[in-house]
Amino acid sequence: MPDEHVLALDLDRALAGEDAGDEARELAALLVAAAEPARFDVTDAELERALRAVRPQRRTRRRLLPALALVGAAAAVAVAAWIARTPGSEVQARAAHALDATFFVVEQVRSPLFAATDVSGYVDGRTGRAHVRVSGSRGLVSETVVAANGSVQRWLAASNTTTAAPSCDALPGGCAEALDPLDLYLRTLRHAHVRTLAGAYVLTVRSGKVEQLVTVDRRTYLPRRIEWREAGRRISETRFTVLDRQRGPVGADAWAMSEHPGARVVQLTSKGERVRVLAVTRGSLPRGARWLGPRYEGRPARVAAVRLTGGNAVRISYGPLVVWNYDTVVPPAVVELRGPAVKTFQIPGGIVHASFAADGGVVADATFREGNVAVVSRSGDKEDAVRAVQRLVRAE
């Protein structure tokens, strides 16, 4: 029995990450792995909903606040829409129109408050697409890609992590490096006071204590410089050293995230929550799901219902080959293996983008009208997933 106490203490040490014996470390690893799925977050919305349900007498009063907030938000949207539709001055209209194209941009961002950075890449003022790299004195700091549908990927050098999110709002800090200052510039156009100054227009807009001055070229109507001032003191300046309007369509490579070997991939929901697997339960195949039949290449299908942060998925595994059916939230196992698409082809009812991961994994992403399917293979045979995705059938 004393040995048991010794082992219990040893296990405690192993759980704390300290030196411990083999058995204690083995048991600690099992316990940590088993506890991991239970370490999920309860969202603020879930908590507030439950609190209201438990204390019903407060319900009426508390509902007033969201209602007022909703009215306020609706009023703000209406005002914003009215402002957007109000014809601006000639300068504002021409400047906004000038940005309605794809540009190759190089910006120098200088401020006494933070280290100097340079931003370069492509920005499409018409569709909102962007692909920019931010560099500091020690080289590349980050790379951000914003797709036409608003989804965004951001790689950070400091953590070698790529974060994927359905919109810039979900990312901490938004997509300032990709959309600002051009986006800020466009918004400024709607509100600014315009004056003329030696070959340029200067647009000024004040927001609280901060004054923003945009210098616009009188010939091209493109921004040259944006300056932020507080109490007359310059707090930041962005200088556009290159702003090249692209004459023809820009190649797909220009909008693709570069390869970052070994980068960890994190996916966020629209609310900024990290997408995690919350629960996995064995289950039966839902009608209409796409799979490879009850057996594929001699391996039986194993079906699991997977609950993710913000969505659900069905996972059908055939040994090392896995078929995922999902709707809006992409399963982390798929996101982790995705790279730039190297093969795009049609299959009945859908289109497939295949990408190869550095570790030999392959993802064949198929988009159908009714939903999305990804075939993932870690077998090392690149054609495995590509072959399988063409044999998908709908479950009866």
Binding site: E4, L11, A50, L278, R307, G319, V322
Partner: protein
């Protein structure tokens, strides 16, 4: 002595401020119940019932040297047990496929781990939950479970061994 006095003050504060009590402990009760019931949605619902009970009964609790949290876990454990009994009576059928697949990847292992965790006794589940999910030190685990620290450490060891045995029975490699 000071520690006891602090614990008493926390008890009184939580007893007198239901909203603070709710905000502080609702998420951990949901997480605990999710493992017991095998469903996050069910856990959210049942945790609300636990706190509805707390709304009625916590103001009348007598100080017995244990935090309000201990009472919450006790009620949660009882309610979870009732719910599981009710489910057993209504005979829920789970569609689990038997197959001879030899490859166990991450999700399969996870599935096995989750199911193995659910096979542990409520006491083993609670010690794992408090120490490893909520990250409480064993001293706090001991207060919630009304046991000594050594007893809780021993419970953890037994929980780990049970988990290993359950996984080995499932044929999970490395278990």
């Amino acid at each position: 002595m000071e520690e006891g006095l602090d614990a008493y003050r926390v008890f009184r504060r939580e007893q007198g401020d239901f909203e603070a009590l709710f905000r502080a402990h609702y998420p951990e009760i949901v997480r605990y119940l999710a493992v017991r019931l095998g469903s996050r949605d069910d856990a959210l619902d049942l945790a609300s019932e636990v706190f509805a009970e707390a709304w009625r009964r916590v103001p009348g609790l007598q100080w017995r040297g244990r935090p309000v949290r201990a009472w919450l876990y006790r009620v949660s454990a009882n309610m979870a047990a009732d719910e599981l009994k009710r489910r057993a009576r209504t005979s829920t059928v789970r569609d689990v496929e038997d197959d001879d697949a030899s490859v166990v990847d991450d999700v399969d292992t996870r599935l096995a781990l989750t199911e193995a965790l659910r096979t542990l006794t409520p006491e083993h589940q609670l010690v794992v939950h408090l120490r490893l999910v909520e990250g409480l030190p064993f001293e706090d685990v001991a207060r919630v479970m009304n046991r000594s620290v050594a007893a809780c450490q021993m419970l953890m060891l037994r929980a780990a061994r049970s988990l290993r045995a359950a996984l080995q029975a499932e044929g999970v490699r490395g278990a």
